[in-house]
Amino acid sequence: MRLVVDLNRCQGFAQCVFLAPDVFSLHGEEALLFSPRFDETQRDRVEKAAAACPVQAILVDYSDEPTKGAEPHVG
């Protein structure tokens, strides 16, 4: 399960940090750090965090397998 935050949109409301502190954290006053990969135990929290983001900056992909055909195929 993977996620990405559009940090252009992010304004440091920190809702995600309250809801899923193991995945999102603030560095200083408003710089957001996040774990791009999370596991099943965090799913609920990440879902809540993504829904609560006032600027809808969090994109989540709940699938866990690599993109079809993209790995480890080479050439």
Binding site: N8, E29, V60, T67, G75
Partner: protein, 464 residues
């Protein structure tokens, strides 16, 4: 057959090839499917990985809070593509409409999208660049290698170049408790992107966090020992420092070499395209089957005097890819222009730095909110009497407002009242950008087109 029928056939059974399996390539592929493209889709990438996110590689990955191999980008939908990964595109034959790959294969296309991006500018001396301990930071592999090195007991790190990547690396090193020296040819960190006034704040920030920052200095040589391990760096002021790691952060080089001989307007400054992402050929004729998006593209923007803009920005890659994908599979009148306002972020030394617009175009600057001394402020850049950009240190929530100001051509200096304003900083000053001809780490926004003030060619009719 009318052009509209052609587009219908293309959408149903055309062959679209995307060269560049990164953020822009992935978002373009998703958009093509989203908009009903059912033909064949091939994505070609020189790295063996599916598209991944780069910003964490110089931030949380170096801090050990995320693994570089865990940054694969989330997908918005299944794209049902043929992936050709771990093999670079090596040539383009526009007559045969084929991309040639490094392994000798060819891939035919009806529409081609080029998203080959940039790579890290390597250290100037190849032999020194090959020393054990000399790094660049651009790819997932670069980040993994550097992470291993930084956590493996190093004594002092040298960062060459104090642009955004260099400054982020220096920040991570300090947080890891490592001694770090930063050598910057310009007068201050971030000076190419934000100018000397804001650069001076970044300068204080670095020194306060214990960085041995040396500006106005260049590294003249990297010296290794008898087994090829980096040992010492020589600086232009005649001094030398003992280091076992050097991170070369001298900006990016556009990946356009593979297009040599293709007849496209592609060179060191990127691939020229129109506002609809259609690539120009060397004669300035727009192609209708080849598109470009992301870091490698440069296109004219009406808000910035129609100069060609080339943007190494995450958001631009997403937006431009979506526009390019849309335009590739629709008829002329339905095409849309890519008029994204440049926007980027960086986080270093615990400060969130954001920018909107094109600061390097600015000829004046005011601090509209906060103060430079508190390292919490919004600096607004003016160009010929209108607002052209804004940069914030820990002031992200204000940038949406400045985005509107820039888009509406609001007058400069600003006439509005702002929250948290300090009257003593409202006097416009020169933002102090270095002469763009002097080499430094380079800004992430580059104006690569004409400047209307430079009239170098004048047309004089012979009968006049």
């Amino acid at each position: 057959m009318s052009a509209d029928t052609d587009v219908e056939v293309l959408r149903r059974q055309g062959r679209i090839v995307v060269v560049g399996a990164s953020l822009a390539g992935l978002r373009a592929a998703e958009t093509l499917r989203e908009q009903g493209f059912t033909g064949s889709l091939t994505v070609i990438g020189d790295e063996p990985y599916e598209p991944y996110d780069r910003p964490p590689l110089s931030k949380q990955a170096l801090l050990g809070r995320a693994r570089p191999e865990d940054t694969a980008l989330p997908r918005r939908r299944d794209i049902d593509a043929v992936w050709r990964l771990g093999v670079a595109a090596e040539g383009l034959d526009r007559d045969a409409k084929q991309v040639r790959l490094a392994n000798g294969d060819t891939v035919a296309y009806d529409r081609l999208l080029i998203t080959t991006g940039t790579r890290a500018r390597p250290w100037i001396h190849p032999e020194e660049a090959g020393l054990d301990g000399v790094f660049v930071l651009r790819t997932r592999d670069d980040s993994a290698r550097l992470c291993r090195k930084l956590t493996g007991g190093v004594s002092r790190v040298l960062v060459i170049g104090a642009g955004f990547t260099g400054s982020e690396v220096a920040s991570a090193c300090r947080e890891l408790g490592l001694e770090v020296t930063v050598a910057e040819r310009g007068p201050a960190p971030l000076v190419g992107a934000l100018g000397g006034v804001v650069g001076a704040v970044a300068d204080r920030l670095q020194r306060r966090h214990g960085v041995d920052l040396r500006c106005g200095i260049s590294v003249t040589a990297l010296e290794g020992d008898y087994v090829g391990r980096l040992r010492r760096a020589h600086l232009s002021d005649g001094s030398a420092i003992d280091v076992d790691v050097a991170v070369v952060s001298l900006g990016a080089v556009r990946n356009t070499e593979w297009l040599a001989g293709s007849g496209l307007a592609a060179g060191p400054r990127g691939i020229a395209c129109d506002a609809g992402c259609r690539v120009f050929d060397v004669n300035g004729i727009v192609t209708d089957d080849i598109y470009a998006a992301g870091d490698v593209a440069r296109s004219p923007h009406p808000l910035f005097d129609y100069q060609f803009l080339s943007l190494e920005h995450w958001g631009n890659a997403v937006e431009q890819a979506e526009i390019a994908a849309h335009n590739m599979i629709c008829a002329g009148p339905d095409r849309r222009p890519h008029l994204w306002l440049p926007m980027f972020w960086s986080s270093q030394f615990g400060v969130n730095i954001k920018s909107v617009g094109v600061p390097p175009l600015g000829d004046q600057l005011v601090v509209a909110q906060g103060t430079l001394g508190e390292e919490r402020f919004v600096a607004v850049y003016g160009y010929r009497g209108r607002v052209i950009a804004a940069a914030s240190f820990d002031g992200a929530k204000w940038l949406g407002f400045y985005q509107q100001q820039i888009e509406s051509g609001a007058p400069f200096p600003p006439e509005y009242r702002t929250v948290d304003r300090r009257t003593e900083t409202l006097e416009p000053v020169d933002p102090a950008f270095p002469d763009p001809h002097l080499p430094t780490h380079g800004p992430t926004v580059t104006l690569t087109g004409h400047s209307p003030s430079e009239r170098r060619i004048k047309f004089v009719p012979s009968h006049a």
